[in-house]
Symmetry: C2
């Protein structure tokens, strides 16, 4: 079976390129999208130069969403809605892995969630039943992804209303070197997104790059 | 210096008696309070019979709050406000360690936070500046406290607006066998309380007694 194509929208930041790197290494075809396609090309060039890996395509967000079987969103919260609206048609019938965290700059170390509850909930409400929104990777230190170490000392909490879609994301996380768990419906993305601010607060105080591990599970 | 007296309100459940057990073992004077003092006496008797430890006093919540230097609240969310109102005078100038989690039964595995954000925020708003509210111990599996094992495989995320008060709670957690971290202002208790529902969801799916560890900190 051919591997599913992964499109990473807003895939030019540390988290997006880090995920791209790891999935390419795991032999997935990866498409990087950006609002401006030349930024996507620059991110692809960076990955090629620094890590010797080749993205399948670097293009604008709409073309990337169209080409991807699974679509990943890694944009700042302020751009989440506009990006999703621009690719709503292209996402129909697909899984959207939403990595967005509802942060309210400048006080990103303080939990300040939106009235809807979380970015994950906003995405699912906006896209409706036609798209399986899965929220994941909120708590992974971005710099850990771009490293020689194959496994990452942080678990991924995967939330979403569709169990099969969550399972696919859990497998993709494993391919990227992360242990991941089913963590309930999309409403539970409130926890993972709030946790991001709490971890930023820990990072500031302890000069750390913190992450989390789930204990007490025998897998 | 004499050790501070710890009063545990609603201290008859698994979490309250577990904390009592561990602090008594660490030579702290512990007072157990309950709405009905005979329930507190029963919990004290249980601790004596099962673990051979002796609580300093078992009484009603108001007397316990009066007698304690540090007061711990471990009641169901539905009783949080009424309990706090009943001891508001007794708490003045003290630290309140609020262990309450804003759960909305019966769907406790789904994050459903109150309009205020969290039980911790509700407590701080209700009690005002006269009381240093510190939120902690939300993610600790209660059964782990009542065990022979001295150290617990779960970290404690400590939130509150007063750094010194947080530090005292971090030390108390250490005495009870838990590693604890400063995790920001009381607003960040949204994260720890939401995380409780997410861990319950994990427990159901994986038949686990899950907890969390913070990674990436060199302490």
């Amino acid at each position: 079976m051919e591997k599913q194509k992964i499109a990473i929208l807003g895939g030019t930041g540390a988290l997006g390129t880090g995920l791209a790197l790891r999935w390419i290494k795991a032999d997935y075809p990866v498409i990087i999208g950006s609002r401006e396609s030349q930024k996507a090309v620059a991110a692809a060039d960076h990955l090629q130069e620094k890590w010797g890996v080749k993205v399948t395509q670097a293009t604008d967000n709409v073309s990337a969403a169209e080409a991807g079987d699974i679509v990943v969103l890694t944009v700042p919260f302020a751009h989440q809605r506009s990006t999703l609206k621009s690719v709503q048609t292209q996402l129909k019938g697909k899984i959207l892995i939403d990595v967005t965290v509802a942060l309210a700059p400048p006080k990103v170390a303080r939990v300040q969630l939106p009235p809807e509850g979380s970015a994950g909930i906003i995405a699912q409400n906006l896209l409706g039943e036609a798209v399986n929104v899965v929220s994941a990777f909120q708590n992974v230190p971005a710099d850990a992804l771009q490293s020689e170490q194959s496994s990452i000392d942080c678990d991924v909490l995967v939330t979403g209303n569709n169990v099969e879609a969550r399972e696919i994301v859990i497998q993709l996380a494993a391919k990227a070197g992360m242990r991941a768990f089913h963590a309930g419906p999309i409403d539970n993305s409130v926890a993972t997104e709030a946790l991001t601010s709490l971890l930023i607060s820990i990072n500031k105080r302890y000069k750390a790059h913190s992450g989390i591990r789930i204990t007490g599970i025998h897998t």
